[in-house]
């Protein structure tokens, strides 16, 4: 179709022990294509995946770089275990870039076939720098060692159309479609900072392209700004040992053991194979964790309307394999087939909707006051095809809705949109406006931090209230868990390096329900171990869900059930079996900590990695409004009596709210102190030179950043 403007040949590197040893660099400004060596230093200090991404990104940018500076890069890497087929969840790609929402490095992980096929095409990592003049697409042919850059103006914009067209274009026949994977965004990425990237995989049973999302932090917005419409990779010939593992026998053994566990236990545990991550909606609502109407409450009697049973019985196709990479028997990537769209440009068409995942049901459902599965699925479809991060969109729209509910903004200021809680039609119309770049859609997708400024400066809203109810930290919107009663999770969100996403730590049950981490030190230990452990998945190319969304039958008998020790051992065994190294549990954490501390210093370098940046909005910690206090009055009154020795009978409502707030804010400060100490940071949140030295990361470029801050 489009004219080919660059044609480049290369000899695909052979993978040895999990690494191809090469990374691909493309500069879009001058169409330069280069190969770089993955050095032993990089493997040693950064392991792979997010580690490689951050290392390349560090060298590409300066403290002045912003998301739309030409030198900003999108970097992706799949990690040394990425692409093995024998274990569940082994196809995750990690991406990093400087985010339009936060101005610091964002990282996002994603399934789909692109990352593994890219590695089998010879590339451990891929840097995309510069800006193209014309809209282009990049095609990587891993079998023939060819990279083509092609003009791409005339291709459709929205993901479900674009990916299908490109998959057909590059596949030779139906059987070849599984060998093509597309990365693209959609029309929504053009007019918002919430643009995300869809990673495709072809579903040979349904005969459609399916998608997983690198959702957080505006990666789609950046790709669009670089004028890249799509990245396409093609590699035919996936086989079990393309990674050249040192010990295939262990990989097979550990893999079969895990598959059998899924077969025997999943239907008794989380039902990931039936409903995926949305299995938890009702549990969340029961425990007051389902964010409802902008996190005002943690559940709603209406939540039964969006319960797992409703989706299983009425919407989601059952019994087919739904994994986002080969070998994923956890198979959580559910979808609704033949779903009839009722609004927007695709009204009247039947489509396959990937999802809903938990974040979708909670965010686009409960958090917007929408308890209608059909509306949730349509919102899900449009977020995906428009390339909009549904988590940020949901949290941002929930904020807008509460501002409207509380009279901070008017319907006229929203261009006539009646964004009341529960009005799914208005939510959908807002998405269409973002896609078209019209009306209120032109500002609604800028993210909460920028909206707060606009609402205060232009609409006269109350800055203090907006600060309390705008659910963002560092500029990134919260993911969808209410957590007012879990101090550890408050820290898990607000002290997360990139912003409040639960992938660093999900401690709510441990903390609030099972009460396993009562003291500040316990919580700090958990906020050390889990963020480190979870970082590791993104270094090696793995999905976290198979770690603890299924546990061995006797897991509860172990010393630390929350860590799922047997599965951690699986990971250690898999790493050693692929790479031929000899790590143990402790070395695993050390591998993670190197990258974790590096990312923190990187944020400091970009101007946002200090104590002041780790404070949550008060809505995260406790009840902002009278209604919120009253909704759990009994609990809050009890806490005043027991924790503060106050007598609620003698206090009026506003006094009780204020006393609760003072106490909870103080608890949070104490938690910060404990966590910073445990992580080896100064009181101001800066990693100390001693800590960096202890983990072998006292690199001159890092010391140079932290020294003025000590």
């Amino acid at each position: 179709m489009g004219t080919i403007i660059k044609d480049y040949s290369y000899t695909p590197a052979k993978i040895k022990r999990g690494y191809s040893g090469k990374s691909l660099y493309i500069n879009l400004s001058d169409l330069r294509i280069e190969q770089k060596e993955i050095t032993e230093f990089m493997k040693e200090k950064f392991t792979g995946g997010k580690g490689f991404d951050l290392w390349y990104l560090w060298h590409a940018v300066t403290p002045e770089t912003r998301w739309d500076s030409p030198e900003n890069e999108i970097v992706m890497s799949v990690g040394p275990l990425g692409g093995i087929t024998q274990y569940a969840g082994t196809g995750k790609t990690l991406l990093c870039s400087i985010s339009p929402l936060t101005d610091i490095p964002i990282d996002s992980n994603v399934g789909g076939y692109f990352g593994p096929l890219l590695k089998f095409s010879g590339w451990d990592a891929f840097e995309l720098q510069g800006k193209s003049e014309k809209e282009i697409l990049i095609f990587i042919d891993g079998n023939n060692g060819r990279i083509q850059i092609e003009e791409a103006e005339e291709y459709p914009e929205d993901t479900h159309l674009l990916a299908e067209e490109l998959t057909k274009k590059y596949a030779e026949n139906e059987d070849d479609m599984v060998n093509v994977s597309v990365v693209c965004s959609g029309s929504g990425a053009k007019h918002s900072y919430l643009g995300m990237l869809n990673f495709s995989f072809y579903d040979p049973r349904r005969k459609v392209c399916r998608f997983k999302q690198a959702a957080r932090g505006g990666l789609g917005t950046i790709l669009h700004d670089k004028k890249v419409k799509a990245l396409v990779v093609k590699y035919r010939g996936v086989k079990p040992n393309l990674n050249d593992a040192a010990d295939i026998s262990t990989i097979n053994k550990v893999g079969v053991k895990y598959h059998k566990e899924v077969h025997d236990l999943d239907h008794k545990q989380n039902k990931m194979r039936q409903i995926g991550t949305a299995n938890t909606v009702m549990i969340m609502s029961q425990y007051d964790l389902l964010p409802t109407r902008n996190f005002q409450t943690g559940g709603d009697p209406e939540a039964v309307k969006i319960s797992p049973e409703v989706f299983i019985n009425e919407w989601l196709t059952q019994g087919l394999h739904d994994g986002c990479w080969y070998g994923c028997t956890m198979s959580c990537a559910k979808c609704a087939d033949h779903f009839l769209i009722t609004t927007g440009p695709y009204a009247g068409q039947r489509v396959t909707v990937d999802g809903p995942e938990y974040e979708c049901a909670a965010g686009l459902g409960a958090n917007l006051g929408v308890f209608d599965p059909q509306a949730i699925l349509e919102e899900n479809f449009y977020c995906d095809t428009y390339g909009i991060d549904l988590i940020s969109f949901a949290t941002c729209t929930a904020f807008i809705m509460e501002c409207y509910q509380r009279g901070q903004i008017t319907r006229e200021q929203m261009g006539g949109l009646d964004l009341r809680f529960g009005n799914s039609q208005a939510v959908l119309e807002l998405m269409h406006q973002i896609s078209r770049g019209e009306g209120f859609g032109r500002i609604a997708g800028l993210g909460i931090r920028k909206l707060k400024k606009i609402f205060v400066e232009e609409f006269g809203a109350d800055p203090k209230l907006l600060q309390d109810i705008g659910m963002e930290v560092k500029g990134l919107e919260y993911s969808e868990y209410a957590h007012k009663e879990s101090l550890a999770q408050q820290g898990g969100f607000a002290m997360a390096t990139k912003g409040p996403q639960h992938d660093e730590a999900w401690l709510i049950f441990m903390d609030m329900v099972n009460k396993q981490i009562p003291t500040f030190e316990d919580k700090a230990n958990a906020l050390y171990y889990f963020p480190m452990f979870r970082t590791w998945f993104g270094l090696v190319g793995l999905c976290k869900l198979p770690w603890n969304d299924l546990v061995p039958a006797d897991n509860y008998k172990t010393d630390s059930p929350a860590k799922v020790p047997e599965h951690v051992q699986n990971y250690v065994d898999l790493f050693n079996a692929v790479t031929g190294k000899h790590i143990d549990n402790e070395e695993l954490i050390l591998q993670s900590e190197r990258v974790y501390q590096f990312q923190r210093v990187f944020s400091v370098r970009m101007g946002k990695g200090e104590r002041k940046d780790d404070y949550p909005p008060y809505r995260s910690l406790g009840p902002v409004s009278r209604e919120e206090y009253l909704s759990r009055q009994e609990l809050y009154d009890k806490q005043l009596r027991e924790l503060q020795k106050l007598d609620p009978e003698t206090m009026d409502l506003d006094e009780k709210i204020a006393a609760t707030r003072r106490y909870r804010e103080d608890q949070y400060e104490q938690l910060m102190d404990a966590v910073y100490r445990r992580r080896g940071w100064t009181e101001n949140g800066i990693p100390t030179p001693e800590r960096l030295k202890a983990i072998g990361m006292d690199l001159p470029e890092l010391l140079e950043v932290i020294e003025p801050k000590l």
Partner: protein
């Protein structure tokens, strides 16, 4: 549908069937390469082999398993990526693998073992019932 059946009362546990199978498909006497496995329990012998139930068809992570025209469940070697999901998911534990193979293997009701059985304990049953 074709399926291999085994008459316990006739089986003496000589293992000629295992040998015939591993020799025919993998040119080895190693019983770990046989798609039929005879297990002894108190001098009676039970055969573990595929029932052609078809449970593995929809779970295959590469859409590589299908039922052929004779109703036999088979793996398309070109599509299989060796994930071993089917090995963990077969309730009968009769999808087998070996570390030097890229694709698992199973009984395809070919009749080689039944011909080799000196006691006539194995037989291929052909029924008209179509499954899946």
């Amino acid at each position: 549908m074709k399926v291999l059946t085994h008459k316990q009362e006739l089986c003496t546990g000589c293992l000629d069937c295992e040998l015939a199978c591993s020799r025919a498909y993998f040119k080895t006497d190693d019983p770990n390469y046989s798609a039929i496995r005879i297990v002894e329990n108190n001098r009676t012998y039970r055969a573990r082999k595929c029932t052609q139930c078809g449970e593995c068809i929809n779970m295959c992570t590469a859409n590589a398993i299908y039922r052929d025209r004779n109703g036999v469940v088979r793996i398309d070697k070109k599509k299989c990526v060796g994930c071993l999901g089917c090995v963990g998911f077969c309730t009968e534990l009769v999808m087998f693998y070996a570390d030097d193979l890229e694709v698992p293997f199973k009984c395809i009701a070919c009749d080689i073992c039944s011909k080799a059985c000196p006691e006539g304990a194995l037989e291929i049953l052909v029924s008209r019932v179509k499954e899946n």
